[in-house]
């Protein structure tokens, strides 16, 4: 038998093997998806309480159409803006000789940890009518600042706080990219721009798309920012219905929201699939950095401006509230304890760990098996992410009380809620990394006698590691700031940073949010630094 024939036989054997355990893995993936989708069942139960005619009239009411339009418009503008901001920043920090790269990498990822209700509130305090800026400019004769409320303002604020999704996933894709490809293109006479357009860009598109998907779904499910920026969107509608003891109405509107989610998921999956075939190779050595010359300081300045707006501004406003406590922004007698921070870190780490353990099989199977059930399972994990937290939390109250009363209001159920909400962040980054792993490398490993598990452990896992870590970081950071499900499902007496912030803000003692908010940002910064340090291990 010639070598060629031997190789063909091995390929055939591998394929058959793959089909065999592919079924097992697909079933595992489907089971994970089914568990994660269980909260949606609660929506159906609730919705069946509403008479059909009433349901129809609610869904087709002019106000419903109006908020739906607003939501879609906001999703479109925010997604576009985050790509325009996140991709260049990822390139700057990952591929150029930008000064203080490591510092900027951490700082530029950090806005993700600022809860939107703090970020947006800070913006209004700074740029709103009679805000800090208006007060500062008034003596100079500036009487009116541009209007910050409305769609443009909401887009600006949301973009500044969610672009890190695109930033992080694009970076992960860049690090998984085989740099020798770019060098080959350059050798073949392509200019920098040409090589970027024809070689780099197509290969990082799934990464960008994964980030953009998270941005789109986050925007759809966010309540705080649109409310503060005075844009009526779907979630504010749901929230209000919910506050009016109309849980069934809220459920119905949530289902409509899930409809929009499905459309977005379908759109994004087209991008992923179109380019899946483009992955010839991956994981090679790192590229030589692009020399920016004197532009590197301009680039650094741009990074500083973004970080300043997204991070320094809210922190500054919080500090101002804290120190001018005499103005009624602090007081009320709530004591802050370090334990709250430890609680936050503990549950966030647990959520990140569980999410990664689940995301790797789901993401791997979806790419490698590429069967419809496997892809559906992967898509299905995203549904929880677009559910407003309060709806998800209540669904889990329902299931917890009925089926696992011993787990109700305990940490495992709370962590499960976080996983349902945030797993897609880990799935997205994992999937885009798996896409970049050259299957020929796996075949080579098998030909050299590795078992399927061994090949996965020794070839695939090291290659997808940056994506997996980025996913863990995203889950950690977003869990740190999650509020509604935390309030509903935490054990009694279990106080986290955000539950404390909510408590003092609810009583309108905004100044006292400063210390926990700063703690939140510092803790997250440390964990980001640790995680990003391993990015290119």
């Amino acid at each position: 038998m010639s070598t060629r024939e031997e190789l063909a036989a091995l390929r055939e054997r591998l394929r058959r093997e793959a089909d065999g355990d592919g079924l097992g893995l697909t079933l595992l993936s489907a089971a994970i998806a089914a568990v994660l989708l269980s909260p949606v069942a609660w929506l159906f139960l609730r919705v069946t309480d509403i008479p059909t005619a009433e349901a129809l009239s609610l869904l087709t009411a002019p106000s419903t159409t109006r908020v739906l339009t607003n939501s879609v418009a906001l999703v479109a503008t925010v997604t576009t803006a985050t790509i325009l901001l996140g991709v260049p920043l990822a390139l700057l920090t990952a591929r150029t000789d930008l000064p203080f790269r490591r510092f900027f990498t951490v700082v530029l990822a950090l806005p993700l940890v600022v809860p939107s209700y703090i970020g947006a509130f800070a913006f209004v305090s700074a740029f709103g009518p009679r805000g800090v800026l208006a007060d500062a400019l008034a003596p100079l004769g500036v009487e009116r600042l541009p209007e910050i409320y409305g769609l443009p303002g909401a887009t600006l604020v949301l973009t500044l706080y969610v672009y890190p999704y695109v930033f992080l996933t694009t970076r992960a894709a860049l690090f998984s990219l085989d740099a020798s490809l770019v060098e080959a293109a350059r050798t073949l006479g392509k200019g920098r721009v040409g090589a970027f357009r024809e070689v780099t860009l197509p290969r990082i598109v799934p990464g960008i798309a994964a980030g953009a998907l998270l941005v789109a779904l986050y925007t759809l499910s966010d309540f705080g920012t649109p409310t503060i920026m005075q844009v009526d969107v779907f979630t504010s509608y749901i929230y209000v219905a919910y506050n009016g003891f109309a849980a069934d109405q809220a459920a119905l509107l949530s289902m409509q929201l899930l409809g929009v989610t499905t459309v977005i998921l379908a759109l994004e999956s087209r991008i992923g699939q179109d380019d899946a075939s483009a992955y010839a190779s991956g994981g090679g050595g790192s590229a030589t950095r692009i020399q920016l010359g004197s532009w590197r300081w301009v680039a650094a300045l741009c990074c500083l401006v973004v970080a300043g707006l997204a991070l320094v501004l809210p922190v500054g406003i919080l500090l101002m509230w804290l120190f001018r406590g005499g103005l009624g922004y602090s007081g009320g007698g709530f004591e802050f304890e370090l334990l709250f921070a430890l609680n936050s870190i503990g549950v966030s780490a647990a959520a990140a760990l569980v999410s990664v353990l689940l995301a790797v099989p789901v993401g791997y199977v979806a790419v490698r098996r590429a069967s419809i059930p496997a892809r559906l399972a992967e898509r299905a994990t995203y549904v929880g992410y677009a559910m407003p937290g309060v709806v998800l939390g209540l669904a889990l109250v329902y299931f917890g009380v009925r089926f696992v009363p011993t787990l109700y209001q305990t940490l495992p159920l709370l962590v499960f809620a976080y996983v349902v909400r945030f797993l897609p962040q880990a799935v997205g980054t994992t999937t885009s990394s798996v896409l970049q792993v050259d299957t020929h490398l796996l075949e080579a490993a098998r030909a050299l006698g590795q078992s399927p598990g061994g090949a996965f452990r020794r070839v695939t896992l090291p290659l997808i590691w940056p994506g997996v870590l980025a996913g863990a970081a995203l889950v950690f950071l977003t869990t740190m700031k999650e509020l509604p499900a935390t309030l509903l499902l935490r054990p009694t007496g279990f106080e986290t940073l955000v539950s404390y912030i909510w408590r003092v803000q609810g009583a309108a003692y905004y100044g006292q949010a400063a210390i926990p908010a700063l703690t939140l940002i510092v803790v997250s910064a440390c964990s980001m630094a640790v995680i990003l340090a391993q990015e290119r291990r």
Partner: protein, 391 residues
């Protein structure tokens, strides 16, 4: 009280006239209450025998408190055992200090509380009770009557004994399923540099046509108390008139704010001439900035004069009825009422304890004659606010 129309012209007027001096000095004293909040809850003597002074806020206005009357904690049996409390609402956070004071007074008493938004707890109690296993809480203490009534109307509460609710005005324990423990009045905070008291009409229905208020008013339609105010208007004047009122307010250029503390601060800053807010927010602004050009007006006999209450109820399925009843009785003692009055600027619910800051007494205000239980019909209010684009 509502039938006493003679009070109307006097009491609806801004309390400044009566409280001018107190407003400056007495409220400045509140600075002390609010300013040293970081160590709140440690006011107790720590030996389990804390006194009225420990429950009372420290500040200049306390000096003018005079004699207060009512049941004292010493008159009641000791609290003892573990009690699970669902504590609803933002301002509800202020009550956690009272719980720790009670914990200090009674070392055997262990209050386990969960603080969440009121409406969220209503849904939660519904899910828990409808599962059949009983609630996970013994007492529901919420910042609005609507939430209390929403739970009671589902049959998830047990009636309170007559002698327990007796010290409280009838309208704040309509069917004894719940009882009010602290009140908050709807009010109109206004900027005294831009408006004088005579600019503010006696009825909210006249606001949209008032020249001085054009383009200068603010409200917070996502805020629960504002929605209760609209619900009250619907109950009094019907949906059609309420819809018209909202539309006319919009035409008059009313501006939207995220909550009523911001509305009150905006009025103090002159960003707004006047706004719609709960009374205590203006007191908080004044407590922090005693010279802020801010005052409160009360309308009369209409939705703008609504008084809502924070109250407590006992959930079915509890096996701690005696403790729960004794706990609620404690909320109606002189000490707890003094806590609500001097630390949260709320209206006390027992006659023997007056409100702070020169506020008119509850019995001197002229709230609309409506059943607070009906305030749970927020759905219709939300539909209305949405249809008009206010939400």
């Amino acid at each position: 009280m509502t039938e006493d129309s003679e009070h109307t012209s006097r009491t609806r007027r801004r309390f400044l006239a009566a409280a001018g001096a107190v407003g400056a000095t007495g409220l400045a004293g509140c600075n002390g209450i609010l300013g040293d909040g970081g160590d709140g809850g440690d006011g107790g003597s720590g030996n389990g025998g804390n006194t009225l002074e420990d429950f009372r806020g420290s500040g200049a206005n306390v000096g003018g408190r005079g004699e207060i009357r009512g049941t004292r904690m010493d008159d009641l049996p000791d609290l003892s055992g573990q009690l699970n409390i669902y504590l609803g609402g933002g301002e509800g956070g202020l009550y956690t200090d009272l719980l720790s004071l009670l914990g200090q007074r009674y070392p055997e008493f262990e209050p386990n509380f969960r603080l969440e938004p009121s409406s969220q707890l209503v849904s939660k109690i519904d899910e828990e009770q409808s599962a059949g296993g009983g609630s996970f809480a013994d007492v529901f203490w919420a910042v609005d009557a609507g939430s209390l009534a929403a739970v009671a109307s589902q049959g998830y509460t047990r009636a309170l004994p007559d002698d327990l609710v007796e010290p409280v005005l009838e309208e704040y324990h309509p069917d004894n399923q719940w009882v009010g423990v602290a009140g908050r009045a709807r009010a109109v905070p206004y900027n005294t540099n831009q408006l004088s008291e005579s600019d503010i009409p006696d009825k909210v229905s006249d606001f949209p046509d008032t020249e001085a208020l054009q383009g200068a008013m603010g409200w917070a339609p996502t805020y629960g108390s504002f929605q209760a105010f609209i619900t009250a208007m619907r109950l009094i004047r019907g949906d059609q008139a309420t819809r018209q009122w909202i539309t006319r307010m919009q035409e008059a250029g009313v501006q939207q704010y995220p909550n009523e503390f911001v509305v009150s601060n905006a009025a103090a800053d002159g960003e707004l001439a006047a706004g719609f807010a709960n009374h205590y927010y203006a007191l908080r602004v004044k407590a922090a900035r005693s010279n802020a050009p801010l005052d409160l007006a009360f309308t009369s006999g209409d939705a703008g004069a609504l008084i809502n209450v924070s109250g407590a109820e006992i959930l079915t399925g509890t096996n701690k009825v005696d403790l729960a009843e004794n706990f609620i009785a404690h909320l109606l003692t002189v000490e707890a009422q003094e806590f609500f009055a001097t630390r949260t600027f709320a209206y006390p619910m027992i006659e023997g304890v007056p409100p702070v800051g020169g506020l008119p007494r509850v019995s001197e205000l002229n709230p609309p004659d409506i059943d607070l239980q009906k305030l749970d019909d927020i759905e219709g209010t939300i539909d209305l606010l949405r249809d008009t684009g206010a939400l």
